[in-house]
């Protein structure tokens, strides 16, 4: 759908385009390690898609486990948020934003903030 400006969008189209693909993540705000919440598995798929969770298994559970906490921390580092590992409001707000489909972490390495932080602590080599 192409429009020269917003006012040219037909009103009949507007009600159908307000629900984003990831709106359900709103329900996960406040979740943290150790919890089991419906919808966590979908969030794990999100983090898997963008390179934050490895390709160990794509049959993700709804458990907020160590892998998810690490993924959330790395995401927070990359997006300049407090790296708490918890799904605080600002993290969820960032996750909900539309974005590029290219992964942030490719083949387990990144030179975004999380990769630099890991390199400085000796976990990996940036390049």
């Amino acid at each position: 759908h192409f429009f020269p400006n917003v006012s040219s969008i037909p009103p009949s189209l507007l009600p159908n385009i307000t629900a984003g693909a990831w709106d359900s993540f709103n329900n996960l705000s406040g979740c943290h390690l150790g919890q089991k919440v419906p919808g966590i598995s979908k969030l794990k798929n999100y983090f898997h898609y963008f390179g934050y969770i490895g390709n160990i298994s794509k049959n993700f559970t709804d458990d907020y486990d160590d892998a998810l906490e690490t993924a959330v921390k790395n995401y927070q580092l990359n997006f300049n948020l407090n790296a708490t590992g918890e799904l605080d409001e600002s993290t969820v707000k960032q996750i909900l934003k539309p974005r590029c489909g290219v992964a942030d972490i490719v083949n387990g390495s990144s030179t975004m903030n999380s990769g630099k932080a890991a390199s400085m602590t000796g976990h990996t080599v940036a390049h």
């Binding site: 020269p4 969008i9 507007l14 385009i17 984003g20 693909a21 960032q94 590029c100 030179t111 975004m112």
Partner: protein
């Protein structure tokens, strides 16, 4: 800035790149002009040139709008979510989600929570076509997210430094520093 693993880039023998649009999309000249402008943002700072070709099959860079599963293993997810993706050199594929509401002219008077500025997304994806990965610098074009109603089309210093590591500076630029960063165009309703 970041690069893809292995730092892929277009070789020195392929710095004058051609681009073409998926013929099945039948894009208007107005839409095509958005991409012309987006390519110019990158050629301004580098020795790369970009020329539109009518031959989709032989073009270096192939641009198309697709919905859902479109055959590359990277399905689109409908409105919002992922907006587009592009592949590192030398694949040259730039795909955009045809389910989005794309604004091609004026995004400022936003009354829709899901209208996306096409040029902003195009400039970002061209960065991937040229070999840049994502950046943690929020002002950078290569920052992974963009809100609806936002227009962000000017390269930031981080983008320029990254692309010039790959390709060097624009030899036709009159100054050593290139265009100014002081008059950046970034605005929107949100």
């Amino acid at each position: 800035y970041s690069f893809f693993p292995g730092t892929p880039r277009w070789p020195r023998s392929r710095r004058d790149l051609t681009y073409a649009f998926e013929p099945r999309n039948q894009l208007t000249d107005d839409v095509k002009r958005v991409f012309t402008n987006a390519f110019a943002r990158w050629s301004e700072w580098t020795p790369l040139t970009f020329t539109e070709s009518n031959n989709y099959n032989t073009a270096d860079l192939k641009i198309g709008f697709y919905g859902g599963n479109h055959g590359d293993g990277e399905d689109f997810d409908g409105v919002l979510g992922t907006l587009a993706h592009a592949f590192a050199p030398p694949r040259g594929l730039l795909h955009l989600d045809s389910d989005e509401t794309w604004i091609i002219d004026d995004v400022f008077a936003s009354g829709s929570p899901s209208a996306m500025d096409l040029e902003s997304v195009a400039v970002h994806e061209i960065g991937h076509l040229l070999g840049l990965g994502h950046s943690s610098v929020e002002d950078a074009i290569m920052f992974p997210t963009i809100s609806s109603g936002i227009r962000k089309v000017e390269l930031a210093r981080d983008d320029v430094e990254g692309i010039q590591v790959l390709y060097g500076t624009n030899p036709d630029s009159n100054s050593t520093t290139g265009p100014s960063f002081g008059e950046r165009e970034m605005s929107g309703a949100h």
